[in-house]
Symmetry: none
Subunit: 199 residues, 2 copies
């Protein structure tokens, strides 16, 4: 008959604590001790479920992005425009995934579109995907423009810029990284979005 988090396993307690902390401050450090103590769990237990700090952060990333329902988000004007746009970009990154998924994804992209001699077909196939993503991004930017949150301007260009940033982040998810990846990804997303939204 518990009404707190007592029924949760340690793993979930840790995850809940980490996500809460991330929610409170997306730039937070999420150190072992900070998260463990917030979760009411020992550092050893945290390590048992997440053998490395990076694994914890990856899991947090996945969960966070799963929660975000996106397209609604861009219309929710109670939230600052920059947060909404960052949320949308995060949604794009969700599909990239983390860990093995991110690495497999990048491997496939390279196998399919980079390694082979670029035929007409391949070219067209990739461009179709790329255009799809850009359209989506442009749509989000349009919403913000109509709302007055984003000055009139070349939204295609802006979208291309944001896509490049997301591509860079996606690649970095597949590559080895320091374990502060969660924090620096947030930094970069906000930097890019602020850049587009202007002063």
């Amino acid at each position: 008959m518990e009404h707190d988090t007592g029924e949760l396993g340690s793993r979930d307690k840790v995850l809940l604590a980490a996500m809460t902390m991330f929610g409170e401050d997306p730039g937070a450090r999420l150190s072992v001790r900070a998260v463990a103590s917030r979760a009411g769990v020992s550092t050893g237990s945290l390590r048992y479920h997440f053998p490395t700090q990076r694994e914890l952060q990856d899991e947090v990333l996945t969960r966070i992005y799963d929660l975000v329902v996106t397209d609604e988000r861009i219309h929710d004007s109670t939230v600052p425009a920059r947060d909404r746009l960052v949320g949308c970009l995060r949604q794009v990154l969700t599909r990239v995934g983390v860990g093995t998924q991110a690495r497999d994804g990048m491997r496939k992209v390279v196998e399919e579109f980079v390694a082979p001699e670029p035929t007409e077909e391949l070219h067209a196939a990739y461009l179709a995907i790329e255009r799809e993503v850009r359209r989506r991004l442009e749509y989000w930017l349009t919403v913000l423009t109509n709302e007055g949150a984003l000055p009139d301007g070349d939204n295609t260009r802006r979208a291309r810029f944001l896509i490049t940033v997301v591509n860079g982040l996606g690649l970095e998810r597949a590559l080895p990284a320091e374990d502060s990846i969660l924090q620096s990804e947030t930094d970069t997303l906000y930097t890019a979005v602020d850049c587009v939204l202007g002063p």
Copy 2:
């Protein structure tokens, strides 16, 4: 009549030690204790001359890159700061190449660092490279900061952002693209640089 480093002041001893260590392994950590002990100096003394670890690393960078003449570009103050920074980023992208070279390069990166299960060695190897690039970028930013072209701020964060953009552009060079890539790359570089330099 000393023939060792005995005549050097502590500050120089520290600098010499740090630069030697950097020379031996550009991926080295250059921690307070490691450098101080190598220099035969107390941590307190090191701190006296370099109030912060960042200041030490910046000084090392400056000395190192002042030796390497390749970066004349960043020092040429007859050119606007943004153009110089974009030039430097282009220099990084030069190594990525275009066409077949870019595709081969990306394939190799993926083969080497993405596809295999990430061992400790691989991880360290990649991080060393990454850190090297970031240091270089930070150095460029420091030059602009000292010059007054760039407000004081977190240059590490700025460097990370620019690296992500360059990573994105590199990936896009390897992928199929519309033929306006040159133009959109320039757009993106300037957007990113302006974003960093501020209004």
